[in-house]
Amino acid sequence: MANKNVLLAAIVVIVFAAYLWPWYNFAQPEILGIPFFYAWVILMYVVTTMLLLVYTQAVRDEKEPGQIGGE
């Protein structure tokens, strides 16, 4: 479905924008005492996981065993 592809594309853009260029490369502000550079990397893991789980839930086109003949 087009919608799930758009969703995945949006997630790819968000995650790559968050990480690929080190624009987050500064020491301040600290989060829980961790310099921002490191804290950002770690925080975005949690955000990425949530986004990917949303996508996983959104995709329902799996051909599970037994469904195949029923098409």
Binding site: L8, V12, P22, F37, Y38, V41, Y55, T56, D61, K63
Partner: protein, 543 residues
Amino acid sequence: MDPLSFTEMTSVFIVLFLVFVFLGFYGARFRKGNLDQLWDWALAGRKLGAALTFFLQGADWYTAYSILAIPSAVFVSGAYGFFGVAYQAMVFTFAMIFIPKLWQKAKDKGYVTASDFVKDKYGGRALPVFIALIGIFSLVPYIALQITGLQAVLASMLLGTVSSSQIAEISLIIAFLILAGFTYTSGLRGATLGAVMKDVLVWIALIAVVVATLFSVGGFTTGIQGLPSKYLTVSPSLAAAFSTSMLGVVVSAYLWPHNINAALGAQSAKKLRTGFSLAVLYSIPLALGDMLGIYVNKVPAAMNFLSNFPAASRGIYVIPSLVITLLPAWLAGLALLGIFIGGLVPAAVMAISQGNLIARNVVKEFKPGLTEKGEATIAKWASAVFKFVALAVVFAIPATYALQFYLVGAIIIIQLLPAVFLSLYTNWFKKEAIFAGTALSIIVGLYLVLQANHFGRITTTLYPTPLGSLYIGVIVLALNLLVTAALSAVIPGRGVIPQVQVPGGITSPAKGVDATSFGASRASILDKSEKPEDSMNKQNTSG
């Protein structure tokens, strides 16, 4: 370390290792199938659920190398070294685009390797054999690298004992004989059970050593005070290198045959996606562990321990030094064993995928009459042989060189992008174009590596350009894409004509992997509705 603590630490290490060995052999009975069939041995019969997929992905990707070498890089290069963990979320996001689709095709058509897909799509012999050989050769240094991690664990554990280097060598050989034994009997199942144990122990180890270190240095903030600024941020001159190095790993990660192998073992594409999503969380303890490359500077006992090793190779001992000096002996034994099997499990999966590639995509290509059982037997023996090839490489070449071989390996493996990932989505490429683009970019890539190192010892995989230093893998990938696209446009004829019937050869249902579940009728039904989008539409209308 006093003799009593040493005994306690090594006893815990050995007892847990025996548990690991038991799990490895027990794997043959786990979700039992017919291990005489290659796909059953190599893909665990595609019976891995979301949890096991998560554990196996985690164990496969977060190797002993990443537990030891990234803290080492942070210790030496400061924040720049953190690129080795900053890419993790992108790796699994990027893999989400291609791997579930590859899984679906593999399931429908009985692929076990990426080369099977290339063979089925493009036909012929040259391209699939070439792709298989690239995978086999680039994995040798990667396994060797795991072994250098194992050596580091043994060396730090045995530090100060008499003839420690001989004991370490003998232990390593014993460990590899056992590993070869259970990989032979249990295949991916054994590795998966080992992976669960490895992951749990590594998390305990990382959390324990992070907490102990933070207590020792007085927290994140005080622990970093007074240290050089390289530990706080990446030098702006290295931003392009940081970025392209990450990009290179992100694109290449799931082109590695062992990662594809582990992914194809999943029970369903949905379970694979769930496993991928959760695998990102694995990076949290890992990232905190990698930051210990900074904080170790403030732990005098660990710095003292590190001074036992030559300055050039000190970094890889950062985590073991903190484990041994800060944790109670039994916990240190547990942590070191976790890191140790953290190298063994990925090495096993890597060797399994090498065995698959050689049996299925090289030997069978030239000996088409090979039976299912014969194919599996060759794969099993080859995987054992490749482990010892890697072991021999480590004993023959100093560890510092092995590390650079891995980075060169990634430059080679990333060139499979058009042949494997992009070919999942387009029929436009011509096989001759892919062959030329891949071969040319590998040759140019290796030449650039030599040139960047002034034809001497390889110490960098970055190439100076007007845009700053860039990772060579990414530069030559651009060349590869350009050549493949240009030649595909020039070479006359249509690209791949979408197939209606499964062609003969490796994916033929008659000779196929499992006649009952990969039968001809089912394969042809799936072929007609090859795009998941189509089948989804149908499901929606019928539901």
